[in-house]
Every structure is written in structure tokens, then in C-alpha cells.
Amino acid sequence: MVLLNVDGVECRYGSVKVLEDVSLSVKGGDFVGILGPNGSGKTTLLKSISRILKPHKGTILLNETDIYSLKSVDVAKQLAVVPQETSIGFNFSALDIVLMGRNPHMKRFQMESEKDMAVARKVMNLTNIWHLAERPINELSGGEKQRVIIARALAQEPKILLLDEPLTHLDIMNQLEIMDLVKGLCVKEKLVVLAVFHDFNLAARYCNSAIMLKKGKIFAAGSLADVLTSENIKGVFNVDAIVKKHLVTNSIFVIPLSPQKASQSRKCSIHLICGAGTGTALMKVLLDEGYSVTAGVLNVLDTDFETAQFLKIPVTTEAPFSPITEKTHKANLAMISEASTVVLTAVPFGFGNLQNLEAALAAVERGIPTFVIEEVPIEKRDFTKGTAKALLAELKSKGAEFVKDQNELLSMLNVSVEKLKIAKAERDRFLAHLKPEEVSKETEIRGKGKKI
């Protein structure tokens, strides 16, 4: 049975539209996540459902009755709200506050009955705050206070619970405990939960459906897997994110990547020889630093291959779990010849990918600056009975730069980019020197030149 039906709702603050044509319907046991960036209308949607902000257009039906035609008390028996923040004017005890949740069930001059106390005790035990019963609310910590507020909402014995970023002030353990509790009620007692989340992973873990708002409109709605995709996240939040299913929790998890830095393009391309995940972090970092990146040879399904796909990095690929063939090796060499620098990561070598090491050697021989990251000693990752070790030694003798980790690599790369700049400046100066009108500045230029 549909419990709450929001149909074509439009809300405004003054003349500014904050919600437009929002519709959703929920039934008992639904746990709906409301996602969206700041100012997308998430809180406004909750406000219109909780009768704080009457919509200009559209209807909100609670059990098929217009919620705005009901009395406050009757709505409060069915719908409870946990706001973002509560400031409490006077210093009531935690128990007093939870018992206030019983207000809709009490008559005007009725005092709290044994039944009200039983409900309060139940929800306070659920939220693990019974031991705080007699403590004044303003002496509690943020997490404890929020539990009291949630207990008060539950004391209303609602059918629908609206949560507006209820976990903002809670640590991770508190977050999980509270959400597990709410989820439990949702499953067991068919409580409807509508919750605004900022954390995709919490949303993914608990919601079974979601709506994603963008500028007051529904951008995506439906099952969680349909809504929480990297395309939608990019479209609404303008953030790249990796969306995967976690093997342990079996829920979707989202890893947002920092927004692409608008760093100046260095017009310098780097070819990564990597594999087995050794190049994954480096790809993102180098892209952020403004280099253009290529990679190879990588087996399809290799971690580095998937990262490269995600980051749209050109790759020379080999079939899954297959040794590198002569053909792909050639393709890789072709790719290397177009790069201005080659980086070899601390990838383990077997006979299947030994050719990658030869490719690096070829790069050095062609005079392309080559860096070798030696985070893990070659002895530990050489599965070729010494062949790889020998090749690496040859690399060193032919002038490849060995660095110990990613940071050292980056600083070396910067230096080599600086060197390029200086070389270019020298050339420019030399050319300028030839121009007669520039002669007057010669001494000045020479002075500068000494400093370099």
C-alpha cells in the first residue's frame, strides 16, 4: 500500500523555485535516500512533506489524504522528523525530551502514563541512551544529543521517518549503530524512511531506492543501483567517482575522486610501464599534474588496465592472462617512441611480461629519459630466475634514473621539466642576442644568465 505520495510538487521561496515537478511514492518498508549537492532542494523536499513549506503546485498525500488538510496532531502520530540540528531552549533532561515525542498521543491535561514511559524506555534502549535519562540535554555530547532527538522521533511511533542529514555530528561507530537501528525498524516494522545523505556510501549501504536531485528537479530516481552510478554522480555533483560493488558488504561503494585540477597542461607525455596495480595511483597523480599519460603493455582485466579505462588513458593491451606477444610489444614500442618520458613501476616480472622490461631498455637506448621506481627490491619481484634482475642492471648502466618512490619521481619529473624550460630560455636568449635591437639589454641578460 502506498503510504506517502508526492505528486508534481513545486516549492518556492519568494519567486525562486527551489523544487520543481518532484514526484515520488513510498510504501511501508521503503528506505529512500535523497541525494544531491548543496542547494539542490533536499531539505526543501523534506520540509514540504513535513508541512513546513506548503508547495505552490502539486499534492502530498498521506494515506491518500492531502497532508495539508490534516491536523498537526494527526500528522505527528504518523510522521516524525529528525532535523539537521536542534537547539533546545531550556535545559530539559533526556527523558523529558524523549517523552515529548509522546505529545501527539496525549490529551491536553494528561500526564505521561505508564505506557508512554514504556515506549520511551523502549526507544531509549534501542538508541542506547537509557543511562542518560536524567542528564540535562545541554550537557550531552553531540552524538548523545542526536540519539536523544532520534529517540524522540521514534517515541512518536511514526509510520514515516524523515531524516535530514541525521549523522552530521556523529562519529563512524555512532553512524553505523544509528543507521543499523533505523534500517532494522524499516525492515521489521515496515517503517518508511526518507533520509537526506551526503555520504554516498552510507546511502548505498542502507537505502533500497534513491532519488538524486539537481537544481530542484529529480535527475534520477529508482533502485539504488540505477541512481548511484558514476554517470549520475558526474552529472549532478560534477565529480568523477568509481562505483563498485564491495565484495564483503555486497553493497555498492563509491570512491569520489578529487575534481580534476585545472593545472596547466605541461605538454609532456609520459608512458607508464606497469601492471598488477602498481601504476594505478600514479596515473591519476600524473594526470592531475598536467601530464598526458599512456600505458602498456597491460593485460585486459588487470587493475591498472581498469584504472586506465576509467581515466581514459590510451593503453597497449594484451588478452587477459596471456604473455605479451611480439605484435603487442611492437605496438608498445611505437607508443613509447611518441612519449617524452618513460616510467617503469615496481611491477613483478615473470616470463609473460618480461618484454615490458625490454621495452624500457629500448626507450633508454633511443635516448628517451627513463625513470625506474624501485619501491620493492627486484629480488622480491623477479620470477624469471634472474633474467629480470639482469635487465634492470642493464637499464641502470645505460643511464635510466632510479627513484625510490612516487614522490621522488614527481620531484625528478618537475626538475626535468624545469631543465627543459631553462634550455628553451637559453635558446630564446641566444636568438634574441642575434637581434640588433636587443643588444642594449645584453649586459642585463648576462647578469641573469649567471644566476642560473
Partner: protein, 362 residues
């Protein structure tokens, strides 16, 4: 503490509340009896008892008052008793109004001044004093009627200025109230400047006092104050919920706008009734609810009745002091009670506040 203990403590609260109210009523009765003894004329205590006793139905038949001088009887019945009753009524009304204002505004600084109610009364009273008309309205002096209507009109003015659509946000209410308050007191200032010989009367009214209280004044305000306090009691739980914030109160089933409207009208009615008989007595409305909250706790179900009674006791005692303290010094034989409430009440409050600051800080 075990579950059972917590719950039994909680349920014992109701009986504890009843006990507190009973003790306070007892204290009020004692204060009244003591106050009957306070005054310029020395009247023996047994005489006072028999003068009062004579007028209690049934009991009066057994009391022989033939030996008591009619002059003393007149002092007790026509001067001291109405004064004490006025003290009770005004103290109760101002303290109850203070509880309502502070509850609605969720702000411990709120009192009858913030909505311009006191200022409205002051303008009404000053104008009527200046008019010099001894006009009597159903046996009441013009000053009283003018103060009452001045207060009520100021409240409606502020309320209507602050209205945004169908809502009256507390912040706008506070700001408009303060603005109107300043405006009206400016008018009072202007009237004082041009008052000439009447200045004394205006100044006296502005600090408040009970020197001219008559029985008919009591009868005139009694219904307003009883209705105000009783009606306010219907909304005590709503006041508790309003302390959670208006949105939360709304989510918990309170019709916030209507509750606010009714509570503000009641508070203003109580204030208007109180100031109409005694002028602007300060401090009671602001501090008594505070003081009671420090001792009793924030629950309005007990805060409202206890504040009301404590306000009554406080003002009766202050009026005693007003009569006694000044006798040797001042030609008028008494100080206006408004000076006493502030002069003695404020340091006492600060003392109490300092002691309990830890638990009181929000």
C-alpha cells in the same frame, strides 16, 4: 541508576510538584498574614485576626469584634488588604506573563517590554495623566483604563507589523517589538518634557506602586488575571514543545502559529491588567520565571504555577519593604514598589544565578 529507579523518580515527580505548589500557597498565606502587620499604624496581631475573621462567612459569627476600633478595622480592610491582594494579583500576572513571553520567544531576555506592551501602557497612562480628566469609567480612573488599552493596542500593533503572510516569525516579532517599544517610550519622554506639574505623577506611574489601590481596582482586574493564568495553563505542554524550536514543535503536533498567537495575547492581557492598577513594576516578569527555572526546572507544567505564586509572594514582600524601608526618610511615607523590586530583587537574583550558573548555562 536502575530502570525502575529512574521511572519511579519520574512518576514521583507529579506528587513532588503538588507538594511544591502546596508549600508555595502556604508561604503565600504566611506572607499575607505577615504583611497585614506591616504599616505605619501599630495594630495588635490578635486584632488583625479578628478583623479578618469577622468577614469570613460562618466563622465570623463566632468572633467578637466589639473591642476593636473602627479606625483600625478600616486600615486593615480598606488599605492594607486591598494593597496585599493587588500585590498578589500583579505579581502573579507579571510572573505568569514572563513565563509565557520567555517560552514563546525561547529567549530568557523576553518580557513585557519586548513587545512594546509596557510602553503602550506607559503612553496611555501618561496621556491620561496629562489630560487632567478625572473621568471615571465604571468606577475606574481614566489612567487605569488608558494604560490597559494602551498595552493591548501596542501588542496588536507589533503583532500586525511583524506578520509575514500567515506566519509571525519570532525574530521579526522581537525586532518590531523593540522598535515600537523605543518609539512609544520616546513619546512618553516627550510627554514628560511638556508635563510641567504633572511630571511627578507620570514618573511615579512609570516606576509603579500600590499607594492608591482600592477594592474596585481589584475587582476590575481580577477576571482578566484569573482567566489569563488559567487559559495559559492549557498551553503549558505546547510551551515545553516550543522550547525545542518551532519546527520541531510543529512536527510533534503543535499548531505553532495559533499557540503563539493565543499565548502572546494572554501574556499581554495579563501585563495590561497588572500595569493598569500599579504602573510599570519592573523585574518581576523578567526575573521571577528565571529564578523559578533555576530552582524548579524548565518544565512549564510546574514552572507556570510556581512562577505565578512566587511572583505573588515576591511582590507582596517587596510592597512590605516599600512601606517600611522608606518610612523614616521619605516625605511620602513610602517608596514606589517598582524601585524595591529592582533594588533588592536584582542583587538576589545575581547571587542565585552565580551559585547555580553551572547547571543553568544553556
Amino acid at each position: 541508576m536502575s530502570t525502575a529507579e529512574v521511572e519511579s523518580t519520574f512518576f514521583r515527580r507529579t506528587s513532588r510538584w503538588k507538594l511544591i505548589v502546596l508549600l508555595l500557597v502556604l508561604a503565600l498565606i504566611i506572607a499575607v498574614i505577615v504583611s497585614l502587620n506591616v504599616g505605619y499604624a501599630q495594630i495588635p496581631f490578635p486584632d488583625i485576626l479578628s478583623i479578618i475573621g469577622k468577614h469570613i462567612p460562618f466563622l465570623g459569627n463566632f468572633i467578637d469584634s466589639s473591642l476593636i476600633s473602627p479606625q483600625n478595622a478600616a486600615i486593615i480592610l480598606q488599605i492594607r488588604l486591598p494593597r496585599i491582594l493587588a500585590g498578589i494579583l500583579v505579581g502573579a500576572a507579571l510572573a505568569a506573563a514572563g513565563v509565557l513571553y520567555q517560552g514563546v520567544f525561547k529567549n530568557p531576555m523576553a518580557d513585557s517590554y519586548v513587545l512594546g506592551v509596557s510602553a503602550g501602557a506607559a503612553v496611555g497612562a501618561s496621556l491620561s495623566i496629562l489630560s487632567g480628566v478625572g473621568f471615571v469609567f465604571f468606577g475606574l480612573r481614566l489612567v487605569q483604563v488608558a494604560a490597559f488599552f494602551g498595552a493591548i493596542s501596542a501588542m496588536f500593533l507589533v503583532y500586525n507589523i511583524s506578520r509575514v503572510g500567515s506566519r509571525v516569525p519570532v525574530t521579526t516579532l522581537l525586532l518590531c517589538g523593540i522598535a515600537v517599544n523605543f518609539f512609544l517610550f520616546a513619546i512618553v519622554g516627550l510627554l514628560e518634557v511638556i508635563a510641567g506639574d504633572e511630571l511627578h505623577a507620570i514618573v511615579f506611574w512609570l516606576v509603579g506602586g500600590f499607594s492608591n489601590v482600592l477594592w474596585k481596582d481589584i475587582w476590575a482586574v481580577l477576571p482578566f488575571i484569573i482567566i489569563g493564568v488559567v487559559a495559559a495553563y492549557f498551553y503549558v505542554r505546547d510551551l515545553n514543545l516550543l522550547a525545542m524550536g518551532e519546527e520541531t514543535a510543529h512536527h510533534l503536533g503543535v499548531n505553532v502559529e495559533r499557540a503563539k498567537q493565543i499565548l502572546l495575547v494572554l501574556a499581554s492581557l495579563l501585563t495590561a491588567a497588572a500595569v493598569s492598577i500599579c504602573g510599570l513594576v519592573g523585574f518581576v516578569g523578567l526575573m521571577i520565571p528565571h529564578l523559578t527555572r533555576v530552582v524548579i526546572g524548565p518544565d512549564h507544567r510546574i514552572l507556570l504555577p510556581t512562577s505565578t505564586i512566587i511572583g505573588a509572594i515576591f511582590l507582596v514582600i517587596c510592597d512590605d519593604l516599600a512601606r517600611v524601608v522608606a518610612t523614616p526618610f521619605v516625605s511620602t511615607r513610602e517608596l514606589p514598589v517598582g524601585i524595591i523590586t529592582m533594588l533588592f530583587g536584582a542583587p538576589f537574583f545575581i547571587f542565585l544565578f552565580k551559585k547555580k550558573k553551572q547547571s543553568y548555562a544553556a
